[in-house]
Amino acid sequence: MSSPTQITKSTTQVPIFAIIVLALIFVVGLFVVGYDQGHIFSVVLGESAYENLYIHELTHDMRHAAGFPCH
């Protein structure tokens, strides 16, 4: 007579893939919110992105409030 037994095992190993994904999100997110001065949109918009500064304006107040140097 056999019956299935449920066991709960705690695993500590973190998949390296998950770490890489999170590290990328960290770097890109920090750059967009804290540092972009038109760099990202310049890929599609060209030089005008450095004058319009869409991302800078979008994140402007958060930059100040979170302590990033802004301008």
Binding site: S2, S3, P4, T5, Q6, I7, T8, K9, S10, T11, T12, Q13, V14, P15, F17, A18, I19, V21, L22, A23, I25, F26, V27, V28, G29, L30, V32, V33, G34, Y35, E57, L58, T59, H60, D61, M62, R63, H64, A65, A66, G67, F68, P69, C70, H71
Partner: protein, 243 residues
């Protein structure tokens, strides 16, 4: 580890805590930003770069509304980004965080990260409202701030390695070691080159509220992340064994 669940917990808790941060800013930091930008406007009128006309204010209000709304979105993005870092460190250090519930663990880690990668860098390079800051030095200031955060963060990781290797009686040495190390870095790092030209009442009020709002973020992420982890347990695997 249930990878997808783990990633979902990290991203959701970061985005939520970041949104809370953005809303907290709207409530307590914005009045100072408005006041500071008001000074900038007066300077523009005084120098003749802009004219104090109704058209100016219509454009200005629309622009400020966009910035204010934008910062809640920016909060969600920054929160997701910082949450990703938090998630990495949590997953790698969970076994050595204090025994007990995941809420206790996440509070401990959030406290360490808040102190070492926010408060200490803030004491050296405090946040400034608009009107303070020379555009010529923004790249230098951005680099200094980021470098100091990185040195402090990696310093913690380094001294944590020492902490693990020391006998329990001497573990305190690693904390003292970090304090001495970061104290030296604090003194050696160049100061912010800009003069603070705005009224000090405004700057100090802004800085205090800025610290409160960022602290709200760290408390929020500790609660949300720890709570979700506790409920959903991404670190467990259920398997059925036939006896």
């Amino acid at each position: 580890m249930k990878t997808i669940l783990f990633l979902a917990i990290v991203l959701v808790s970061g985005a939520l805590a970041g949104t809370i941060h953005g809303v907290a800013n709207l409530a307590i930091v914005e009045p100072y930003l408005d006041e500071a930008i008001g000074i900038e406007n007066q300077n523009l009128f005084a120098s003749g770069e802009e004219e104090d006309t109704p058209a100016f204010w219509v454009e200005y209000d629309a622009y400020r509304d966009w910035q204010k709304g934008g910062q809640v979105l920016a909060g969600a993005m920054l929160g997701t980004s910082m949450g990703a870092l938090f998630g990495i460190v949590y997953a790698l250090s969970r076994n050595v965080l204090p025994k007990g519930s995941d809420l206790k663990k996440s509070f401990t880690l959030a406290g360490v990260m808040w102190f070492t990668i926010y408060i200490i860098p803030f004491l050296k390079y405090p946040a400034n409202p608009p009107t303070v800051g020379d555009a010529e030095t923004v790249v230098l200031r951005a680099i200094l701030y980021l470098v100091f955060i990185a040195i402090s963060g990696f310093g913690v990781v380094g001294f944590y390695q020492l902490y693990k290797r020391l006998q329990s009686k001497s573990k305190i040495l690693s904390i003292v070691g970090y304090a001495v190390f970061i104290g030296i870095v604090f003194v050696l790092m160049p100061a912010n080159p800009d003069e603070v030209t705005a009224p000090m009442d405004l700057v100090n009020g802004f800085r205090a509220m800025s610290v409160v709002a960022v602290s709200v973020f760290w408390v929020s992420i500790a609660i949300i992340f720890g709570g979700l982890w506790h409920k959903l347990r991404p670190d467990t695997e259920n398997s059925e064994i036939q006896n």
